[in-house]
Symmetry: C2
Subunit: 324 residues, 2 copies
């Protein structure tokens, strides 16, 4: 199980590498939400998502002789870019296995960051088999997207910053809503808050139809999503919570929140208009939950983690039509 | 003349009020510019532009008995919002005189922030006469947009942060390009850098056709723009440099840089794509200069101040078409 000591160690490895992203707010969002809303803008992190934290944490923790052979990762895009950049900065190769229906921009960026992208067809190919073969042939180390102590610890450094920034802003009691896929970020933040900010509690936010974590927390048993594609929130669609992350979330998190794709797009538009930041739909579900599920929140303040901003222009233009 | 002591005093008044905005970068922008590019994202400041700094600095420095009667300002939008919010947080009235062709969003936001907006027609009405009459009748204090020591000092706090952040990033020598209207921000930053970062030099960036500061610096005498509207960069269109700001810029700044409206829109698109921030065209001219006037820059690194992000959706959608 990851601990606060793992997060503190990751924070030392990330010192001067990850950006300390700002905690933003707007009176216009407060009005919609009926309480003070703060947005931790991890979309401003290197590669446009929090994933760089976990990727750097994991890559930097590898034994040097093993590391120089390179790393491999599976990802629809944000983890891909995080691993590609972490590998590039370590001057080692990175093979990234991506579904061929991932957003084009994420595929292009991963390549431009030096990643060797291998595309596969989700419907007919077995990505695990492809990955295992490549990893073995080239002695590559697998950097998992969430179910890894060092990855969770890296994501948890976001929680250390939230604890500090909340204290600076005089936020004593708040739910911390986290856009949640496999739960690496959510569990990492939950662990950091447990030690550093007892008035703050993490809660996962998910898109409707892909609410495996919310249902797992509610039922007390692991739940699966019936579909694996078809959400506009591609960044946070995973089949089921992680083996490591679910026990942490079960122990520490409040109930999950679920929003529709329309609400996520609306939140993208409001983040553009009111905070001047670019979010992808999957990175906006926490903000959407703060704005459109306010009856499910009881704390005087709410903090939303905006997890990523890697969005194709056509989707973004569509989101802006929600401003009305 | 404003001094570093004025800026330090303004920084104390702004402590805990203004956001310390991040210094962002992207390997993709470095590649276009042919050098390291850093962007000081003042678009993430309260009200979406650096103007909040100067407004708060000026309003907070007023004598309390005078201040409670209220303030008045002339502005096409960003200064308007900065003054409206500074007044609201001081719980005093703010009258804002705005041209009726200002971006609708800026007019709406100024009103929503509690500003009492008075619209006038640039072509046929005399805004100074309107303002003077209102100020006299209601004993309002005029908060000038740039030609005021306390305003310049407030904007200069951006320069204190740039000096610190440049040191953190290991930037020893760089031009600091500043989107420039009347010169309040440019001169404030120049003064801060003179004291705190001798390897950094401020340079104004302006839109073509509205390059009064660039021509004034080049000729050594005050120059005027022939037009006062017709640029997409509405935020930084002023008739001529300030009486206080021009001597400071003449003493401390490097040559100005001039970009086209097309280049400003292209920079808006690249900031969206690569930095995940929202800029208005007038807030993107410094970045445009770094990307598209690289032959006019000689330093190994360049810092661009992204001054604002208050843009209407239709203009933003148009900017995104520049991604090609």
């Amino acid at each position: 199980m990851p601990t606060i000591a793992d997060i503190e160690a990751a924070a030392r490895r990330l010192e001067g590498r990850a950006r300390r992203t700002p905690l933003l707010s707007s009176p216009f969002l407060d009005e919609i939400a009926g309480r003070r809303v703060f947005v931790k803008a991890e979309s401003l992190q290197h590669t446009g998502s929090f994933k760089f934290r976990g990727a750097w944490s994991a890559v930097s923790a590898l034994d040097k002789d093993i590391r120089r052979k390179g790393v491999i990762a599976f990802s629809s895009g944000n983890h891909a870019q995080g691993v590609a950049l972490a590998a590039k900065l370590h001057d080692i190769p990175a093979v990234i296995i991506m579904p061929n229906d991932a957003p084009q921009m994420k595929i292009r960026n991963t390549r431009a960051l030096g990643g060797e992208v291998v595309l596969y067809d989700r419907a007919i190919e077995d990505r695990d088999a492809i990955g295992a073969q490549l990893a073995k042939a080239r002695s590559l180390s697998l950097i998992k997207p969430f179910d890894d102590i060092r990855v969770i610890a890296g994501q948890g450094t976001t929680g250390l910053e939230i604890a500090e920034q909340a204290a600076e802003q005089g936020i004593a009691r708040a739910d911390v809503l986290v856009c949640c896929g496999g739960g690496g970020l959510t569990s990492g933040i939950a662990l950091a808050l447990e030690s550093r900010a007892t008035g703050l509690r993490a809660r996962p936010a998910e898109p409707a139809g892909f609410d495996d974590v919310t249902r797992s927390l509610a039922s007390g048993t692991r739940q699966h999503n019936t579909r694996l594609s078809g959400s506009i929130c591609d960044a946070i669609v995973t089949p089921t919570p992680g083996e490591l992350t679910l026990p942490v979330m079960s122990r520490l998190c409040g109930p999950g929140l679920v929003v529709t794709d329309d609400e996520a797009l609306h939140a993208v538009a409001l983040a553009w208009s009111r905070l001047k930041i670019v979010l992808e739909p999957g990175g906006a579900v926490a903000l959407a939950a703060a704005l459109f599920r306010k009856d499910q929140i009881e704390t005087p303040d709410v903090i939303c983690v905006a997890t990523g901003g890697n969005i194709d222009p056509d989707v973004f233009v569509r989101a802006l039509t929600y401003l009305g």
